[in-house]
Symmetry: C2
Subunit: 334 residues, 2 copies
Amino acid sequence: MATIYEVSKLAGVSLATVSRVMNNNANVSDATRKKVTAAMDELGYRPNSIAQSLASNCSNSVGLLVSELHGPFYGPMMSGIENTFRNQKKHLIIAAGHSNEEREKQGIEFLISRNCDGLILHVEAVSDDYLIKLSKSQVPFVLINRFISELSDRCIILNNIKGGYLATKHVLEQGHKQIAYISGPLWKKDAQDRLEGHKKALAEYGLPFDEQLLYQGDFMEASGFTGLKTLYQHAKPFSAVICANDEMATGAMASARELGLTLPDQLSIMGYDNVFFTRHVYPPLSTINYPINEMGKMAADWVLSHVYQKQTAPLQTVFEPELVVRQSITTNPQ
Amino acid sequence: MATIYEVSKLAGVSLATVSRVMNNNANVSDATRKKVTAAMDELGYRPNSIAQSLASNCSNSVGLLVSELHGPFYGPMMSGIENTFRNQKKHLIIAAGHSNEEREKQGIEFLISRNCDGLILHVEAVSDDYLIKLSKSQVPFVLINRFISELSDRCIILNNIKGGYLATKHVLEQGHKQIAYISGPLWKKDAQDRLEGHKKALAEYGLPFDEQLLYQGDFMEASGFTGLKTLYQHAKPFSAVICANDEMATGAMASARELGLTLPDQLSIMGYDNVFFTRHVYPPLSTINYPINEMGKMAADWVLSHVYQKQTAPLQTVFEPELVVRQSITTNPQ
DNA sequence: ACATAAAATGTAAGCGCTTACATTTATAAC
DNA sequence: GTTATAAATGTAAGCGCTTACATTTTATGT
């Protein structure tokens, strides 16, 4: 592989000049610029990005930590991020944290040790304090789907209270009066917020919130399954169940069928996230849209702006959810 | 950030010695090793991986090109790969090719320019010739889900003929006699192979293959939708349709319902890939398992072995599909 | 105690770039 | 034609490591 040295020799200029044309430095005459690019072409020269990084103290790489590389939620997020960065010649180093404190910390360590210029973090298990401490170290980072008030300017989040509110309001509007709720783990802020929105809608319709109709799940499919079963067997009757995410809604669907209920006639189910497979389940699931792809892009823009001083579209930290009506909610239940 | 120089000064040894303890070189006495690690701890030293890469001519990064970062197929593949590499302190740089020739080439260029030591490629649009030429350049790569005979030792593939065979055989065993087929784009080898397996099973049961019952799709959901509609309106009657992947099967399901058919009673549907949401559709889709996660791991092992000379489990290039029976196929259709 | 080999450590060059600073060349003003 | 100023180019010192080779220390055999 040709080096800058060989290019400079062929072009008959100094190393510095070659470097200047590479970096589009203004102070190069057209004539020499042409000589240099010609020499580059002739040699098939490609700059060594490692050497560039070492000399410029900028690796042009940004680290991304997500809980899982698979699963319906992270894919669209990564897509949005990758796209933005590739256009800017930055590259993405990806690691998985598996929603586990130790592994999330390891992942962050790993990315830092890889000289990332900035980090995009979707972490769940690591503590607020850890992140606040981290924010005082060298490497800048932005948080997706997590709010820490001390770090509020770098938290890209969804308005989950509103989302929870919209979901329940829709179900209420269809005439349901007995509504069960399967929440996420309530130590998580987003699970809390969604539930809070639910309560708010209930209150608005003059309905009391009933603890008996609440089941605390963990955002995973299985907990939707057992959640519905538990509610069905122990709680008072209900005509609709609202799930704090689509995975649990899916579990609840399976559970409902196992209980012999026909959907949606005998039970309406509402999801949250608008993960792509919600269109494909049967009946197609009504849910709340989580614009995760856009939020990924915004996180990338944040990095572009704060780390690389690039001009970007105005940064937005809180996104708004939207109701997506499909066919899992009946009107006027008996 | 402390450098190796400061560590060496604190420990009272030379740079080389510090480097040796970092790299676990055997020729370091226990006493000095201790001194050095103590100094490292005291300074909170972290080696600069960029400098290491430049000096050692090894970036410890491997590039991964997939068609999309989202979608049900690539997630599990990336997961398998990331996991293997992180344990080995290698890192993954990810780019998307979008099944488009230009973008795939760009992606490969991008990864190479990022000094990847090796590449894992899931490419669809780029030509065999291009890849053969690429194989003669510096950077080693392995191919997932693509077979090129000149490069056969670095192609990690599924036995798609067998998969196609298993799918059709299962449907035949349930008593179906009129079977439609929605294929992938037939310029793709995997689409061809799956269809070939289908024909083989038909032949084994003494049934002729009927061109009229074939629709050529493009592996995307929409083509499953229009495919079924087209077949239904123009072809002779059939009691089952086999789709060359799950996405198209999903489209076919939606289409069937729109045609007023109840599933699976009036139409059996078979998928391929065993993408995770196939459990969630209704009726749960019978399909062929594609062990993409394992294949991803194998690709990572290939790189570990060929690029980094690591000892790995024996390499396997062709994987076997398996039938997954769920509830989308009826028995003894009328 | 000595010679000899093996183990431990040090020296210094170099990986391929960037960039501050110095120098040369072109341009403008008089 | 000078001189002042700006533009273009060159020089050389790093960036933080690895590693071939040289040197010193330690262990081994007699």
